[in-house]
C-alpha cells in the first residue's frame, strides 16, 4: 500500500485536513494532543525519517510543522498542528520517542516560547545566555 494511503487509513480519526501541494509534498493537520501518537506511528511503525520541524507565529496561534521524509519515494509528509493558546503555548514533546527531535524542540522553545511538555533537556540551544528571558525573536509582535 502506498505510504499516503496507509497514513490516511491508520490515522483517519486524527487527520483533520489533508493537502497535496504536489505528488511529493503532502501536508496534513492533526490536533496538538495527538502529536505523540502520530509522530510515533510515522517514525517507529512506518520508519519515516524525521527531517526537522518549523514553528511559526500566525494570527490564529502558533503553528508547528513536523517534516517527515519518506526516503524510499522522496515524499515529504508535513504534520501541521495549531496551538491556539497564545498566552501559554504548550505541546507534548516528541523527543522522548526519538532523540533526533531534541535540538529542534529546544530551538522552537527559545525562538517562539512554545513549551514542550516532557522534553528531557529543555534549555537554550542557539541564543546566548545573556538574551533576556521571555523574549522570543520569532514572535511577530516584536517586529514593529
Amino acid at each position: 500500500m502506498p505510504i499516503q494511503d496507509e497514513i490516511k487509513e491508520k490515522l483517519k480519526d486524527k487527520i483533520t485536513n489533508w493537502y497535496e501541494h504536489s505528488p511529493k509534498r503532502i501536508y496534513f493537520s492533526i490536533k496538538p494532543q495527538d502529536i505523540k501518537n502520530v509522530a510515533s506511528f510515522l517514525f517507529i511503525d512506518l520508519g519515516i525519517r524525521f527531517a526537522t520541524a518549523s514553528g511559526q507565529d500566525t494570527p490564529k496561534g502558533f503553528e508547528i510543522l513536523y517534516h517527515f521524509s519518506f526516503d524510499k519515494t522522496g515524499e515529504i509528509l508535513s504534520v501541521r498542528v495549531l496551538i491556539e493558546d497564545k498566552k501559554k503555548p504548550e505541546i507534548d514533546s516528541i523527543a522522548p520517542i526519538f532523540v533526533g527531535a531534541e535540538w529542534i524542540e529546544r530551538e522552537i522553545w527559545e525562538m517562539l516560547g512554545i513549551n514542550f511538555v516532557g522534553h528531557p533537556n529543555l534549555k537554550r540551544l542557539l541564543l546566548a545566555d545573556e538574551w533576556p528571558q521571555e523574549q522570543y525573536p520569532l514572535r511577530h509582535e516584536h517586529e514593529s
Partner: protein, 397 residues
C-alpha cells in the same frame, strides 16, 4: 562521580572553521559523556530572511555556509520553485548540477585534508588541498568567485557556462581522477590508517536512525539515503551514478564514502557537460504567489532542508533552514562516548562539521600526564608511505 574530569574543546581556535564547544566528561582515558554547546555562530538568518525580498534571500542563504555555499541557495530555489510551481529551463538545471558537484569535490577534498591533519598525516593535508585548488580555479573561471558563486536564481541560474570553458573543466576533472585514485590507495592500503580509523567513533545503524542523521554520516552507517536520488532535483535523474553506502559506521567508513563519492561527482560532471544542450537559463519569474514550499539539496554533508512560506507579498513570512550538521553534530553524543580521549577529536570531526581542535586536546593530555597519541610517528609513517606511493602508483585515467 568525583573522578570525572571535564575536558573542554573549543569554542574558539584558529584551526576551527567555526566555533563550537564540546565539553568532554572523561574518566581516565575514557569519554563517558559529552555536552555539545552550539550557537556561537547563530546570526539569526531565518529572522533576517523575513525582511528580505525573495531574490535577496538567495544571496542571504548563500552566506550560511562558507564551504558548501551553493547548497543552501540550491535548496532555497528548489523550495521557491516548489511553492510557485515554476518550470526551470533544462540548461539551467544542468548548470546547477555541475556547480553542486564541483562543490562536493572541493568540500570532500577539504575534509580529507583536515582529517589527514587531525590524525597526523600532514602530507595528505597538503596534497588534498593542493588538488582542491584546480576545482576552485574552475569556479573562478565559471562564476568569477572561488567561493560564494552567486549562480542560483529563482527560476534559473544567473550565468551561463561558456563553451570555451568546458574543455578546461573537463581537463580539471580528468586530472582529478588520478589524485582521487592516489587518495583512495593511500587510505585503503595503509595499515596505520586502518588501525587508526577502523572501529573508532562508531555510529550504529539504529543510532543513525534515532538521531536522524543525513549525508555521508548516515550512508557510512548503512542507511541508503541520498536526496539526489530519492527526491531528484537538478538533473540527477537524467545522469547515471551510484549512492555510496558502507555498513560499519566507523570513521574509516565515513572516509571511504567521501572518497568514493568524489568519483561519482566526477562522473556526474562529465555526463552533464556532454548532455547539456544550448538554451535558455532563466524562467524570468515575476511574482511569487501565497503558499508554502519545501526544497532540499544534498550538500556535501547531507540533506539541506528549506521551508518557505509566502503570504503573497515579496518577502517570505517564514523561512526555516535546516543544515545537515544540525542533525549530524548532535549524533556525536553517541559516537564519541565510550571511545578514548585521543579518538575524540577525529570522531567529532568525522561528521565533517565545523572543525574541533586536536591541538588543545593534546595539550590537556600532556598536562594531566596522560598517554599522548604518537602523532610524530604517524607523520613519519605517512611521509614514507606517500613517498612510496609517489614512486609506485600508476595513474589510471
Amino acid at each position: 562521580m568525583s573522578h570525572k574530569v571535564i575536558v573542554p574543546i573549543g569554542p574558539y581556535h584558529p584551526l576551527q572553521e567555526e566555533p563550537e564547544y564540546f565539553r568532554l566528561y572523561v574518566e581516565g582515558e575514557k569519554v563517558v559523556d559529552i555536552d555539545i554547546v552550539i550557537g556561537y555562530m547563530h546570526r539569526g538568518i531565518e529572522k533576517l530572511s523575513e525582511s528580505k525580498h525573495f531574490d535577496q534571500v538567495t544571496f542571504l542563504v548563500e552566506r550560511i555556509c562558507g564551504i558548501c555555499s551553493n547548497s543552501h541557495p540550491f535548496a532555497y530555489v528548489n523550495a521557491m520553485e516548489d511553492l510557485a510551481k515554476i518550470e526551470v529551463p533544462e540548461r539551467a538545471l544542468y548548470i546547477r548540477t555541475i556547480i553542486a558537484e564541483l562543490e562536493r569535490l572541493h568540500s570532500h577534498l577539504l575534509w580529507l585534508g583536515l582529517a589527514g591533519h587531525f590524525i597526523g598525516y600532514n602530507t595528505v593535508w597538503m596534497w588534498s588541498w593542493r588538488y582542491r585548488e584546480p576545482v576552485l580555479d574552475c569556479f573562478e573561471m565559471i562564476t568569477g568567485n572561488r567561493q560564494h558563486y552567486a549562480m542560483m536564481k529563482i527560476g534559473g541560474v544567473r550565468r551561463d557556462i561558456e563553451e570555451d570553458d568546458i574543455p578546461q573543466i573537463k581537463k580539471m576533472v580528468d586530472d582529478l581522477v588520478a589524485a582521487v585514485d592516489m587518495f583512495k590507495g593511500a587510505v585503503m592500503d595503509d595499515p596505520v590508517i586502518h588501525a587508526r580509523l577502523k572501529g573508532i567513533g562508531i555510529l550504529t545503524k539504529q543510532q543513525a536512525i534515532d538521531w536522524s542523521v543525513v549525508g555521508p554520516t548516515a550512508r557510512a552507517s548503512g542507511i541508503n539515503i541520498d536526496v539526489r536520488r530519492d527526491d531528484p532535483y537538478g538533473v540527477y535523474d537524467k545522469v547515471s551514478w551510484n549512492v555510496i553506502v558502507q555498513k560499519e559506521g566507523d570513521i574509516f567508513a565515513k572516509t571511504v564514502v567521501r572518497i568514493l563519492e568524489m568519483y561519482e561527482s566526477i562522473s556526474i560532471i562529465r555526463q552533464c557537460l556532454d548532455k547539456m544542450s544550448k538554451g535558455e537559463i532563466d524562467a524570468n519569474v515575476k511574482d511569487i504567489p501565497p503558499g508554502e514550499g519545501i526544497g532540499r539539496a544534498e550538500a556535501p554533508r547531507g540533506e539541506v532542508f528549506h521551508y518557505v512560506r509566502s503570504d503573497g507579498t515579496n518577502r517570505p513570512i517564514r523561512h526555516k533552514v535546516r543544515a545537515p550538521s544540525y542533525m549530524n553534530v548532535a549524533s556525536n553524543k553517541v559516537a564519541a562516548v565510550g571511545g578514548t580521549i585521543s579518538d575524540a577529536a577525529i570522531t567529532l570531526a568525522a561528521v565533517d562539521p565545523c572543525y574541533c581542535c586536536t591541538e588543545r586536546l593534546t595539550v590537556i593530555q600532556k598536562d594531566t600526564d596522560k598517554k599522548i597519541m604518537d602523532g610524530w610517528d604517524l607523520i613519519k609513517l605517512s611521509q614514507e608511505k606517500t613517498e612510496r606511493l609517489k614512486n609506485s602508483i600508476k595513474f589510471k585515467v
